[in-house]
Symmetry: C2
Subunit: 342 residues, 2 copies
DNA sequence: AATTTCAAGTTAAACGCTTAACCTGGAATG
DNA sequence: CATTCCAGGTTAAGCGTTTAACTTGAAATT
């Protein structure tokens, strides 16, 4: 029924091996023969069958994409964007991406995603933190691994990270430039690397400006960075401090909670307090005022991960194994010049 | 290196055929032998290699997911949710789904997605409207097709649709129950089936309530349903009508534009005018007031599409070929009782 | 002129699985 | 008791590629 490499071979009057060699640009074939084969391929509209290629060459042409279920459900748009980035770059490099979630509690006895068991991926991209048991099991399969927005302590894997430190620094710098001096930081659990780094950026900016760091101006012990926790953090923060003029929230989700709290208290943003977030999510634009934030180029995270993977395949991992994607300041309406005399 | 069906056969002291038959639950194998084989499979931790299976059985274990690039970029969260739904259900049914976008202008001479050329999918799910040229080409390959949120005129393909008519009806009914009588409709191009259907629901609800349909209360000629067009539609609508008490927007994107316009004009929502949207997108919650809307269960669209596909594969397409997913009224703060005496 | 080298293919095995067709020995049947 | 039937397997031929190893004829070398 469908046209196979054999049909092409017959038509071009060569062996199937020759056809295969032409397809793979092997130099052993004369340009005359090459042309004849290519013509036959064209005319028959031949395309190698993926399964057959896979079986013979022991490569699937697929990349796996793993994210934990709760990361995914908690901030789905974020990981979705990353996934779309991998999808986009994979297309350029002639791969497909198989998406799957795993339990964040992946244990010693859980079984790996089907695509690894069935040898249906040539490499795996892991987005966000995953269980160490998963990694241990994965390592046993010797599949190339690339990490996004997380890196396990041990192992020397290629990784694509957000430049959180510099991002935090820029965010606070923006506030400093607007003449703010009493700047608060609101974060989720400081043990999370990304949050910690943003916090470090915050401190660095203050230090550089010669402003002392005041622990009371920070809330860094909320369980995880979601709206409700942002609301509560704002509440806790403002009960102790009445003279804050700006808040740097570790991410937009919390910032939205903060904003809600401030509004309910009749505190004007940015009139009374300026607010800046981090991530740049869809909702930011619908807010009133629209949220100033540090944009994370999520798609780029995915793109770079696939690029690293392809380099890995080609054994030419000459470029750095760690790629930092910068965050970008997006000024909207939740930050403004501060005039008050303190 | 890796364990193959042969290893299992040796260990269980049977032929490889027997192992294969056990794996596929063939009844020809005695339970005694079956157990022995299964034990060997367990102990060796054997999993059939996907490529080999594919080659031998002429099935890839993959489903293709196609959406046009501009649909995708215009309302990415919408299609992403659908995709995630297919992904979810595919997992249950042991498939993977390969995502790709095609140009909305796909022409006669464009080439099909790589996964169909390489016989790397067993069926294709098409989300949203696609070019007829694409369909023509696809049909030549005799691949099972399932549509989501769109159905081509010709052909009798399985399809999963949003119940837009009933959704529109419910939306307007909600407004009627709140004592509104002057209810406007704002839509994008009425030629788009979904929008037309929502409009039909609007008219049906009015009719049932014995309220005459007034063309001046509708705007149905904006190019496509996005924020900016919602803003403009609201402007046009209110210039002609001062006594509107409620607006049904054909989707949330336009509703957000409407809301912005009303706010700028100092018109209170829902105090002066109630507003209801359609889709239920992420941004709705960040709005002030939070938007009342008709929730579309996007994930379910994807889930049902995969189910239909699997039924197709099993030739037991007994259930209806057209599945309607109901929309659900989500009451938030943009609609309220109307008191004005008209 | 004999030998070596090389360019340009070809041969054939292998990849790991599925499945139609075949086999075999005992139970059921006439 | 000879024949049929069937449960429970096995054999072997594919599926469509890739690729290591081999071939061959002509050019280059000695």
């Amino acid at each position: 029924m469908a046209v196979t490499i054999k049909d092409v071979a017959v038509k071009a009057d060569v062996s199937v091996a020759t056809v295969s060699l032409v397809i793979h640009n092997n130099q052993r074939i004369s340009s005359e023969t090459r042309r004849r084969v290519q013509k036959a391929i064209q005319e028959l509209n031949y395309h190698p069958t993926r399964s057959a290629r896979g079986l013979a060459s022991k490569s699937s042409g697929n990349l796996g994409f793993i994210v934990t279920d709760d990361h995914f459900s908690r901030s789905e748009p974020f990981y979705t964007q990353i996934f779309l980035g991998t999808e986009f770059q994979a297309r350029q490099d002639e791969y497909y991406v198989l998406l799957t979630t795993v339990s964040s509690e992946f244990g010693r006895s859980d079984s790996l995603p089907r695509f690894v068991l069935e040898k249906n991926v040539d490499g795996i991209i892991l987005a966000g933190k995953v269980s160490s048991h998963l990694l241990t099991k994965l390592e046993a399969y010797h599949i190339p691994l690339v990490f996004i927005d997380y890196h396990p302590g041990q192992g020397n894997y290629p990784v694509v990270l957000i430049d959180n430190i510099s991002g935090g620094f820029q965010a606070v710098n923006h506030l400093l430039n607007l003449n703010h001096r009493r700047i608060a930081f609101i974060g989720g659990d400081i043990d999370h690397p990304s949050i910690l780094e943003r916090f470090q950026g915050y401190r660095m900016a203050l230090e550089k400006a010669g402003i002392p760091f005041i622990p009371d101006l920070t809330v860094v012990d909320e369980p995880y960075p979601a709206r409700a926790n942002g609301y509560r953090a704002a509440e806790r923060l403002l009960q102790k401090n009445s003279d804050i003029t700006a808040i740097f929230s570790c991410n937009d989700a919390m910032a939205i909670g903060v904003l809600q709290y401030l509004k309910e208290r009749g505190i004007n943003v940015p009139g009374d307090i300026s607010l800046i977030g981090f991530d740049d999510v869809e909702a930011d634009l619908s807010l009133d005022p629209a949220l100033t934030t540090m944009r994370v180029h999520k798609v780029d995270l995915g793109i770079e991960a696939v690029r690293l993977m392809v380099e890995l395949f080609q054994n030419k991992m000459t470029s750095p194994r760690k790629i930092l994607i910068p965050a970008e300041l997006i000024v909207r309406n939740s930050t403004s010049l501060q005039f008050r005399v303190l």
